[in-house]
């Protein structure tokens, strides 16, 4: 039987989640345990998304509730709490000239709940910013998002910039967005394309060698 906090969060019951979290804190529960339960719930939300039971609304809403729980418990946490071990590092962003973010945000969510450390550079990200982030983070995966046809060109120039910086052999690149397929992948020079958010997870797991 899952903890009632997990159940409430998975059920998108915002007020109940916050009430339970406050009660737990009031009873002297370790704030870290509350965060751990919340993460457990987010994992279940991610699974349900992968299984086609949950959709964008549940990802966005659970993220919002999690933010509120974190705001509640963090002031009571000791500094320097141990961070969880991550599977690998992913740099993510919507390419230059494109400001669409919904798909990118979903990818960030599912990568995160699947154990990856995601650096989200945001939207309209210039080529050199991707290159810098790959270098600075020693990332294994670069995920480029875009929705418009002009994103095809920006993806291509971003891949070329990574190549030009001598980093191409260090990082594997996946593209995703509204209209990606094998033809666009070849056009951009990426290693893979994603039809949906889970494709990014499958790809990233392959790259770091986990199932």
């Amino acid at each position: 039987m899952a903890h009632e906090l997990v159940e409430a969060l998975v059920g998108m019951k915002e007020k109940e989640v916050l009430r339970i979290a406050e009660e737990l804190l009031g009873r002297g529960e370790d704030p870290l345990e509350i965060l751990r339960l919340s993460q457990e719930a987010m994992g279940i939300v991610g699974e349900r998304y992968e299984e086609g039971e949950y959709f964008l609304p549940e990802l966005v809403m659970s993220g919002e509730i999690l933010k509120k729980v974190a705001a509640l418990v963090k002031p009571r946490m000791a500094a320097g709490a141990p961070a969880a071990q991550k599977l690998g590092k992913v740099i993510l962003g919507t390419v230059r000239g494109d400001i669409h973010d919904i798909g990118k945000d979903i990818v960030a969510f599912v990568l995160d709940v699947n154990g990856f450390e995601v650096t989200d550079l945001g939207i309209n990200v210039p080529e050199e910013k991707f290159v810098e982030a790959v270098k600075a983070n020693d990332a294994q995966v670069l995920a480029l998002s875009g929705f418009l046809t002009l994103a095809f060109d920006s993806m291509k120039s971003t891949v070329a910039a990574v190549e030009g910086a001598g980093l191409r052999s260090n990082v594997r690149i996946i593209i995703g967005g509204g209209h990606m397929d094998e033809t666009v992948r070849q056009f951009t020079g990426a290693d893979a394309y994603g039809d949906d958010a889970m494709a990014a997870v499958t790809f990233a797991k392959q790259v770091v060698g986990v199932n």
């Binding site: 609304p57 002009l150 095809f152 033809t183 666009v184």
Partner: protein
């Protein structure tokens, strides 16, 4: 204006549709360039009408190229130039349509819009080339929370007042003074009228009027260049496709007023308010079209659909939040003889069962990434389907690959009629030879 034998009020929806289709076929006051142009125009409208009304198979598969800024790049203009140089933009769209020879024209008025007027407007819902974007980039939508979470009651109580005095001042700097727009009801009695009249002494409102006057002047200068293009293309044999546009109530709320994230919060935190607001917006979205329509208006009404696509919500959420108010909007338009062209951007495969429930032979479902064979199977005998040459094909592939795809698509979904070949999603950029290949494919392989 064309007239009917019976008063409009007494006409059935089917009679109104027939009337509008006839007006589309025989545009009043239009002088064709030649008898050939007239014959081509009529053949095209007849072809489109046959595909849409499902009454018989057309002579061949109609083809449309639903493009955005592509006519500009084809003519060597950047989107920036298309939005700033009205003369060259008008010429580009004219030449482009004449060159492509699809079954209807793409008018310049949706993309070659007046940048200077938007600058004066200080419009905050979009960024455009030279205003937040580089010159080679087409305009893009920017979400913001133009309606707060506690403003549902105000919207539901009086949507027009909310749009006029709350939304407009937030979405455009030039409208900021409209927050003080005086109450119209004051004018019903002389002794109350001065409080209305005094409202116009507010400096903020005066500043707005001055800005709007300049915007109107600039937009009129633009219109003088752009609208004649539509008439010239019609005279050359190329009919209009969309005559008007509106939006699904849920999208009006989610895209424009609340924003995607906020709309999602509302679905969980105040679902009843969301549903009530969607219902309240239905007549507004119908009137958006009907209020400026004449009996000669082109029947197709473009409705871009956003937040109901696969992945955006579950089937249950779609049937609860998205579809009921959209369905009522469709009914409202069909009752007036209009033909909603529902642009199902993204994938709509999980919605195919739900969206079969539309008035028969009265809408066009335009698909983007939806499997067209599945769409045809679901909607055969119910609605015309259109689409779906992808950007991957028209932007990155070869003309031969485009031809092969179109030929395969025609073989799969054209039998029996009720199909319009088109791109899947608005082409801001493309290889022109690929769009030509698409148009040619309908002519070469689309004969019935």
């Amino acid at each position: 204006m064309a007239t009917t034998e019976k008063p409009w009020k007494e006409l059935s929806a089917a009679e109104r549709q027939a009337f509008r289709l006839n007006a589309w076929l025989n545009p009043e006051g239009l002088e064709f360039e030649s008898s050939e142009a007239e014959a081509a125009y009529k053949a095209r409208v007849t072809r489109l009408t046959d595909a849409i009304t499902l009454e018989r198979t057309p002579d061949r598969v109609p083809v449309y190229a639903f493009v955005g800024f592509h006519p500009a790049s084809w003519a060597g203009l950047s989107p920036y130039e298309a939005m700033n140089d009205y003369d060259r933009a008008a010429q580009a769209w004219l030449d482009y349509n004449l060159d492509l020879q699809a079954d209807a024209q793409i008018p310049p008025i949706f993309n070659a819009v007046p940048a200077r007027a938007f600058e004066l407007l200080d419009y905050r819902s979009y960024i455009w080339p030279g205003h937040g974007l580089e010159k080679h980039q087409g305009y893009q939508y920017v979400e913001a929370e133009f309606m707060k979470e506690d403003e549902y009651d105000a919207l539901i109580d009086d949507p027009t007042d909310f749009l006029l005095r709350t939304y407009l001042p937030r979405v455009a700097g030039a409208y900021e003074g409209f927050a003080k727009f005086p109450a119209p009801i004051d004018l019903v009695e002389l002794p109350f009228a001065p409080s209305n009249m005094l409202g116009y002494a507010a400096p903020e409102l005066l500043a707005s009027f001055e800005k709007l006057a300049a915007i109107g002047k600039e937009t009129a200068a633009w219109g003088e260049k752009m609208f004649p293009v539509i008439g010239r293309l019609m005279a050359a044999g190329l009919p209009l496709y969309d005559g008007a546009a509106t939006k699904a109530p849920f999208d009006l709320l989610g895209d424009t007023l609340r924003g995607t994230r906020e709309m999602i919060f509302d679905m969980f935190r105040q679902p009843e308010k969301v549903l009530e607001a969607c219902d309240r917006l239905v007549p507004l979205c119908v009137k958006w079209v009907t209020a400026r329509a004449t009996s000669g208006s082109v029947p197709l009404v473009f409705i871009p659909l956003h937040k109901g696509a696969d992945g955006f919500m579950s089937d249950e959420q779609f049937r609860t939040f998205y579809w009921p108010s959209l369905r009522r909007l469709i009914d409202g338009l069909v009752a007036e003889g209009f033909i909603p062209r529902l642009f199902a951007e993204g994938k709509y495969e999980s919605r195919l069962e739900a969206i079969r429930d539309v008035p028969k032979a009265s809408v066009v479902w335009h698909f983007d990434q939806t499997d067209m064979a599945k769409a045809k199977e679901a909607l055969a005998g119910i609605a015309c389907i259109a689409g779906n040459v992808s950007p991957s094909l028209y932007y990155t592939a070869t003309p031969q690959e485009v031809t092969a795809y179109c030929r395969g698509l025609i073989e799969k979904v054209a039998p029996g009629g009720g199909f319009i070949l088109d791109v899947g999603v608005v082409a801001d950029d493309a290889k022109h030879e690929n769009l030509r290949a698409m148009v040619q494919a309908a002519k070469d392989f689309g004969a019935y």
